[in-house]
């Protein structure tokens, strides 16, 4: 029988916080009820975790207990007629693609890595480059099994009128343990993508590009060079794509790329190297600009090629900062954020810009809302990094925007509540035995 065993160095993807947890790693659904009972017995708080790709602390529960769901990774059923796929929550999107692609189907929504669990993707109500067309992944959930600490498994779907489904989708694992999920998937005719890359010289050029493309392309996203100064500020590469109408339905196996074997020294990613990287990205993109047929794997998952890439940021780890601001102020707020980053000289290795569509997100705490989202990452240099993010907070808050909890490890309770005004409705559905570091911070709940 699976038990909780102490582990002293559980980290999230950002690797900033290293904490002690009691960890259980069940392999079978029949082990879960006892674990929920035992985990809560000692008065500790519980949290289910997956492949730990959340950047900050919403997947950490320091000094509490976690149920690592990664070994509950079995597909349960798939019906090509109804396009409904049911699987245990710990299955990775990578494994789902291996099941779907050869049969001519694809994930309806995918984030930028396929090494996340299905349960985690629902708990964070992830979005992808097709948000303007498909909304969040939560919109595609038809049923899910939620286990609460008081016992039993609840089967919930979009027809639920108690609010528990809406709290669970995007609910950061706080409403209980998601044991299994059923999603609707989409048909594809080919595993190939038709991709078009368009360089743009200024941020102002991004908005008309995305407005013009979102109607005709399933997937749109832009990368920007946020270190470029002067005339080049706001330059970037816009990419738009759709699933090709013809081509083989073959699974694109991850080419065994390099793996980062250890934490790089802190100086490895500095202003100069990041600037050089960004320059290279831009030039490379400009060289390859135009239309091309591309495999889906590098298009959706460019960073999955480098195993453990977060270790590039060294021992102190890094922060990811992802905001969304409403359409009316998107241009000004985005410009202000890029200026603040550039002025602080805190290079962001990756800066990604995307316009969300107006499909409502199903979760009470779902991040996507109409507007423009900007994702930045910053090496953890301590106080100066936190200060920069505080400045960005002020811009986002003034714009009426909010931050993405899946990426966050430092947001204040006030900032969270301003962005998610219905957080108190949500809090009513939180399982009393469940918590996370993130939740304690933003709800100012006592520690375990």
């Amino acid at each position: 029988m699976t038990r909780f065993v102490p582990s002293d160095d559980l980290v999230s993807w950002g690797r900033v916080l290293r904490a002690r947890h009691e960890v259980a790693r069940p392999h079978w659904r029949d082990e879960l009820p006892a674990l929920l009972g035992e985990g809560a017995e000692a008065g500790r708080k519980l949290l289910a975790i997956g492949l730990r790709r959340s950047y900050g602390d919403c997947g950490l529960n320091p000094d509490g207990a976690v149920i690592d769901m990664a070994a509950l990774d079995r597909a349960i059923s798939f019906d090509p007629e109804t396009r409904l796929l049911r699987a245990e929550a710990g299955i990775s999107l990578d494994a789902l693609l291996a099941i779907l692609v050869p049969r001519g189907f694809f994930l309806p929504v995918t984030p930028g890595t396929r090494f996340v669990t299905l349960g985690g993707a629902i708990a964070n109500d992830v979005h992808g480059k097709n948000h303007h067309r498909a909304g969040t992944l939560g919109r595609w959930v038809r049923r899910l099994g939620l286990m609460r600490s008081e016992g039993g498994t609840l089967e919930l779907g979009p027809d639920d009128n108690t609010g528990l489904f809406a709290a669970t989708v995007g609910g950061l694992g706080l409403t209980g343990l998601i044991a299994w999920v059923e999603i609707e998937v989409i048909p594809i005719a080919s595993a190939t993508m038709e991709v078009e890359t368009i360089p743009f010289a200024t941020l102002d050029a991004f908005f008309p590009l995305t407005a013009e493309s979102d109607g005709a392309f399933d997937y749109t996203v832009a990368w920007i060079d946020c270190l470029a100064r002067g005339d080049a500020r706001g330059r970037g590469l816009f990419s738009r794509a759709r699933h090709a109408a013809e081509g083989p339905l073959v699974l694109q196996k991850k080419r065994p790329g390099p793996t980062v074997p250890l934490d790089l020294p802190g100086f490895a990613l500095n202003g100069l190297t990041v600037k050089a990287f960004n320059e290279l990205c831009y030039r490379n993109g400009r060289r390859r600009a135009g239309r091309a047929a591309a495999p889906y794997e590098p298009f959706f998952y460019p960073l999955d090629r480098i195993g453990g890439w977060s270790r590039l940021y060294g021992k102190r780890g890094f922060y990811q900062y992802q905001s969304v601001v409403p359409p009316e102020v998107a241009g000004d707020a985005t410009r202000a954020m890029l200026e603040a980053v550039s002025a602080a000289g805190e290079g962001s290795f990756l800066a990604v810009l995307k316009t969300f569509g107006d499909m409502p997100s199903p979760g009470m705490l779902s991040f996507p809302r109409p507007g423009t989202t900007l994702a930045l990452d910053f090496a953890n240099r301590g106080a100066s990094t936190l200060k920069l993010m505080d400045r960005l907070d002020a811009i986002v808050r003034e714009a009426g925007g909010r931050l993405y909890p899946a990426k966050d490890g430092r947001i204040s309770a006030a900032m969270f509540r301003a962005g998610y005004p219905n957080w108190e409705d949500f809090a009513r559905h939180v399982d009393p035995r469940f918590s996370s570091s993130f939740w304690r911070r933003v709800s100012q709940e006592e520690g375990p």
């Binding site: 699976t2 038990r3 065993v5 102490p6 582990s7 002293d8 160095d9 790693r25 392999h27 079978w28 659904r29 029949d30 070994a71 079995r74 597909a75 349960i76 059923s77 798939f78 494994a95 291996a98 099941i99 050869p102």
Partner: protein, 246 residues
């Protein structure tokens, strides 16, 4: 390709079964718990297995093994590979002072496993082809205070499989004992902080187990570097070995 897996709910067995499923194999899974077998079977079908059958049986029970094994082969309509993957680690400290518990450990890990290995060997020899892959352990290479009862059973099993391989040398089929180092599975969950280069994931061991059915052997370590570690450990003089906390 037709595969029989004895102890199919073990983490290494399940990871290996996924590799076979990806090749479109036909599998027969044997283990004690029918619900768990059903969960694995549904998953393997979606991962590409052409066919998955299950048989519920406590493999420690050796009554009528020959008939039972013949039944497995008949269900699949033949057999190419047999993977024997079950075992119990047990807590050495509590079983070494309890002769009955020690005997149970030896019965499950050696006596019953040997019975299944021998009937599988018979079947493979009769048809003149096929592979028998048995999971052993580095614990069988030298008795250590930490796990010598489990280790003794695995040592016996290794010798048995080496002998079967020797018997097969001129007749066509193959027999291989795969000896994993410590693996992060439910069997080892009592160990705190299972991390570092000594610990492997079931997937990594599974790919070695899968290849072992096709080539190499009769003794294969998983991961391979354990061959050299165990060579050193076996060579240590007792005076030194006795002082090591390993």
């Amino acid at each position: 390709m037709k595969i029989i897996i004895l102890g199919a709910t073990s983490a290494i067995a399940e990871a290996t079964a996924r590799l076979y499923a990806g090749e479109g194999a036909e599998l027969l899974l044997v283990a004690r718990q029918p619900e768990r077998l059903a969960a694995i079977a549904a998953d393997l079908k979606l991962r590409g297995a052409a066919r998955v059958e299950t048989a519920t049986r406590d493999l420690a029970d050796t009554d009528g093994v020959a008939d039972a094994f013949a039944g497995f082969v008949a269900t699949l309509g033949g057999v190419d590979h047999v993977l024997l993957a079950y075992g119990v680690l047990g807590d050495q400290k509590s079983i070494e002072h309890d002769p009955a518990a020690a005997q149970t450990s030896l019965t499950v890990n050696f006596t019953s496993a040997a019975a299944w290995a021998l009937v599988a060997a018979e079947a493979l020899e009769r048809q003149g082809r096929g592979s028998l892959v048995v999971l052993g352990s580095v614990a069988g290479d030298r008795g250590r205070r930490a796990n010598f009862i489990y280790g003794a059973a695995k040592a016996g099993l290794a010798t048995l499989v080496e002998g079967i391989a020797h018997r097969f040398a001129t007749s066509g089929p193959r027999a291989v004992i795969v000896k994993p180092g410590p693996v992060i599975t439910p069997m080892t969950e009592a160990f705190a902080n299972r991390k570092g280069s000594m610990w492997s994931m079931p997937d990594a061991v599974a790919s070695i187990v899968r290849r072992a059915a096709d080539s190499g052997g009769p003794v294969i370590y998983a991961p391979r570097f354990w061959r050299w570690i165990m060579l050193v450990i076996r060579s240590l003089p007792s005076a030194l070995f006795n002082r090591l906390e390993i």
